[in-house]
């Protein structure tokens, strides 16, 4: 195993990676920007180095600065955490050229999965279901109608050059399709100078369910079950859990989805930890959306129900070790839920609410884990993601895991900061969440 690892990240995930390193006897090197001087992630590490001013492009995304620290601190490997440089293939190349191991997958698979249409084509060729789509320009309105009738309404019409919702319209019948087709062509032309439109089937009230993959460099590709992340706002996950409540509702779904995820990872020659994300409709039809080639924010719930430490496995894989367990050795025990505590205001359309934490006390208790990078006196700045902490509960059954989460959140003291804790409590108390019937638009419909 490594003796010294640099953690190229900040906040809770940098703290979390350092904890595993400490347990494995690996020394850690932290990096920080001016805004993070003295932050918890710098204190849990054995050494900490300043890499630049607060803006991420001048610090946490500044590859030369990070590599200089790696050189100076004489580390063997770099763990990227999630976000920031974690899915940047160029970073991986530079890390390896500088003589360090990168704790993550190969850069080629990152490049493949980072291009949505390449990833979609690759998944389809690997036999993994993708949302039915035209995969090319729709020639005219007759072709649009033909496609819609083939895959059945509703459908989504998208301006090829569009983005962020602009030039995208849903059509529920031929009349609305005629309008949507015209509007998207017009929007594409006026906003982007390109009237090309694509179409795909619109999945109503989809659930977000993903499969955790672990693969070593010795041909072993394993899955660690699924996570459901349907409680979302602005396409960002807020509550995650495993097992997915949907698995009890639809027999055989877990096997189909984990088989598909493993098939994709095998076809891509994947290594290290990764996550295959799917949308699932009400009947249990699932469709590949993307593969995240890194550790996920919500990897924690998977750890809680299996006892595996995913960061440890990432380090072992990067170091070239084969897994010392097989698929059938991975057992699921109980139910785990994670609530992401953000400094944000649910009443103001979930706008980030930076501020200074005056009083701070984390909850403790049976089956409760808190991953955080905060403490009293810590400032949540506008420079970074407003995630303060992740509260994770574990119990034998889902209702108990919910109860434990409620207790923990009620006993979480964060003074001086507006957070979404009350929103979590409302969600946890809702019939929709308790019955496991939440889809990805549900939360935004409530607020």
């Amino acid at each position: 195993m490594y003796d010294r690892v640099l953690i190229a990240n900040r906040g809770e995930i940098a703290v979390r990676v350092a904890r595993t390193c400490e347990r494995l006897g690996i020394e850690t090197v932290a990096v920080y920007s001016d805004a993070d001087e003295g932050a918890p992630h710098t204190k849990v590490a054995d050494e900490a180095y300043r890499i630049g001013p607060a803006p991420v492009v001048e610090s946490y995304l500044d590859i030369p600065s990070i590599l200089d620290v790696a050189e100076e601190a004489d580390v063997q490997a770099i763990h990227p955490g999630y976000g920031l440089l974690s899915e940047n293939a160029e970073f991986v190349d530079e890390v390896e050229q500088a003589g360090f191991d990168f704790v993550g997958p190969r850069p080629e698979v990152m490049t493949l999965m980072s291009d949505k249409s390449d990833a979609r084509a690759f998944a389809r060729d690997a036999g993994v279901p993708v949302v039915p789509g035209t995969d090319g320009p729709v020639e005219d309105i007759e072709a649009a109608i033909e496609f819609a009738e083939e895959v059945e309404y509703p459908v989504l019409v998208k301006a090829a050059a569009g983005g962020g919702g602009i030039g995208m319209r849903k059509a529920t019948d031929e009349e609305s399709l005629r309008k949507a087709y015209k509007a998207c062509r017009r929007r594409g032309e006026s906003a982007f100078g390109d009237s090309t439109v694509y179409m795909e089937k619109y999945i109503e009230s989809p659930r977000h369910i993903e499969v955790q993959i672990l693969a070593d460099h010795h041909g072993s590709v394993l899955h660690i079950f699924e996570r459901e992340c349907s409680v979302q706002r602005r396409h960002q996950k807020v509550i995650e859990e495993t097992p997915s409540p949907m698995m009890q509702q639809i027999g055989g779904l877990r096997n189909e989805m984990t088989d598909a995820a493993v098939a994709l990872a095998e076809a891509a020659n994947y290594s290290n930890a990764g996550t295959v994300e799917f949308v699932v409709d009400e009947e249990g039809n699932f469709y590949f959306i993307e593969m995240n080639t890194r550790l996920q924010v919500e990897h924690t719930v998977t750890e809680m129900i299996t006892g595996l430490d995913i960061v440890e496995q990432q380090l072992r894989v990067a170091h070239g070790e084969p897994f010392d367990f097989r698929q059938e050795d991975i057992k699921m025990r109980g139910h785990s839920i994670q609530c992401r505590v953000y400094a944000e205001n649910p009443q103001k359309r979930f706008m980030p609410a930076p501020g200074n934490i005056e009083g701070y006390e984390e909850p403790t208790g049976e089956g409760i884990r808190v991953d955080s990078g905060a403490e009293a006196g810590y400032e949540v700045t506008r420079y970074y993601d407003p995630l303060v902490a992740k509260v994770i509960s574990h119990a034998d059954h889902r209702p108990e895991a919910i109860d434990r989460m409620v207790d923990a959140l009620e006993n979480y003291t964060i003074e001086g900061l507006t957070t979404n804790i009350d929103m979590h409590l409302e969600v946890l108390a809702s019939d929709a969440f308790q019955s496991g019937a939440v889809h990805t638009s549900w939360l935004e419909e409530q607020y």
Binding site: G165, I166, H235, R349
Partner: protein
């Protein structure tokens, strides 16, 4: 008599497509909302004169919020 135009969805006003005082026909698009990464048009429920908009571009709107009035 004035008819209220309501938003069926929560979203953000992305673009206003007609001007106050314009004659509109039932089914015409008055406002384009951005919601759930899609454009959601708000159409005129009746034909008439658009007498006022109650929202501006970039305003957040709630489900059932009145966004405009049409004089039939």
């Amino acid at each position: 008599m004035a008819t209220d135009v309501k938003s069926e969805m929560t979203g953000t006003v992305w673009q206003i497509e007609v001007a106050e005082g314009d004659e509109v026909a039932a089914g015409d698009e008055l406002i384009i909302l951005e919601s759930m990464k899609m454009e959601i048009p708000i159409e005129a429920p009746v034909s008439g004169t658009l007498i006022e908009f109650l929202v501006e571009e970039e305003d957040p709107v709630d489900e059932d919020q009145i966004v405009a009035r049409i004089e039939e």
